[in-house]
Symmetry: C2
Subunit: 262 residues, 2 copies
């Protein structure tokens, strides 16, 4: 099944744009979980168990697994294998290298680890993006306008035509297999709406809601306009301010599932 | 010892700007090595054995280890531990994520894996770079103007003031601990010389010589001007066109050691 068809099926079946971000910070695990790699594994497994019927996608943040060296990557592979088949698996790895290296990163993430999609960086241009989209069954979300405070330093360079627009245009040009999308932060609601108008055919992966302070309303509106969007929540679901584990995680996921209703 | 002092010591001791890039492509291993992860390990180990006295640094390209999943990362950790202490260890990982994730990537690469330096991408701005340079003993090379054919699509955006110049300025501003440098391809000799003039205090990591067609003369000149440079050779040393392993690798490393004489 083509990437495009697969992810739309995930969104339809779950009737939500919710994507749960798996960012297991060992210092933030709930009571009862050791601050060890085994604790991380047990925690993530529980999170997946109580959220799998509520989310269209999981976005695994590689930083939190690489932290533990090869043992962390072994745990990541184990967790990925345990996710039900009807959920989009996004590797939040933000890779970006010259063509020959990109080819090997693509094989690593989309074949060895068997993710369906990956986040990638556009700084090196099209050579660095193409290897990730050769297989029509797999896809990639390219960093475009991100949710962090310093994003504008580089992404808005260029004056009248800011770099993030150039990035979006490049992604449009490369999207012959309809398996590319953009990462656009919910912290920039004006630009998010404007990019949705300009690039109606590209799916958006939208981080930045919750701890990062992004605007929920616009993120949901943008996704509903054409149905091509994923709204990521990581800390807001994994570490609720109150309640008892795992009910609090279930409740947070249910809340965002409904808020991001398709 | 501060990063700055350490890498200058490496350059002085070996009297060369040579950096050997460890990019083990399983399809390109010499006769006698299985095209397996064990073959990759045995090959890299031999490469390190016959080049360690000739190189100032090793640059490990993570793509070629991630290719094998967690087992590849275990091999990477083993190899890194075997490199002699007087050689700069560069993780060519090109990471670039929002601040909270960048913090974990920095811990992963500079603490867990114990690299001394890492390559990082500037697309997300200063938040994504700072965690890598908080420890003065460690350092980072930021992608600025890369050696691949499509580099200009993004890096030259902005007309009169191309993005790569903005990147270099941002790196200069952040370089309070004197542990930041730039990645600048030898395939752009004019800009390489010009950037050396404009940013005399920043060390350069220069890829692109050999298979990528970069200009040797300008790369060496730029390094000699202030002594702050590393010229990377990967395929040109790992896979010589002729000769018998491992003598051919030794000979190639000796050739580039002398060509890149400090």
């Amino acid at each position: 099944m083509k990437f495009n068809q697969f992810f739309q099926k995930c969104l339809q079946q779950k009737a939500t744009f919710l994507t749960v971000g798996i960012d297991p910070d060992p210092e933030k695990l709930p009571t009862g979980f050791a601050h060890t790699l085994q604790g991380v594994y047990n925690f993530c497994r529980e999170v997946i168990r109580v959220t799998a019927d509520l989310t269209a996608a999981y976005k695994f943040n590689f930083a939190f697994f690489e932290l533990w060296g090869w043992r962390g990557m072994r745990i990541l592979e184990r967790l990925v294998a345990e996710v039900p088949d009807d959920i989009l698996l996004i590797a939040d790895a933000k890779r970006g290298d010259i063509g020959n290296s990109a080819k090997f990163y693509a094989r690593a993430i989309l074949e060895t680890l068997n993710f369906r999609a990956v986040t990638i960086s556009p700084y090196l241009g099209s050579d660095s993006l193409k290897p990730f989209i050769e297989n029509e069954a797999k896809g990639a979300f390219v960093l475009c306008l991100t949710s962090n405070p310093s994003a504008g330093q580089i992404q808005e360079h260029g004056g009248e035509k800011p770099l993030y627009l150039r990035t979006a245009e490049l992604v449009r040009e490369l999207n012959v297999n309809q398996n590319l999308g953009l990462v656009i932060g919910a912290t920039k609601p004006g630009q998010l709406l404007s990019l949705r108008q300009q690039f109606p055919e590209l799916p958006f992966l939208i981080p930045g809601i919750g701890h990062q302070g992004g605007e929920t309303e616009q993120a949901v509106m943008v996704c509903r306009q054409n149905g091509l969007g994923f709204i990521n929540l990581s800390r807001g679901i994994l570490y609720p301010d109150e309640g008892k584990f795992p009910d609090n995680i279930r409740a947070a996921a249910q809340y965002y599932h409904d808020l991001f209703k398709r």
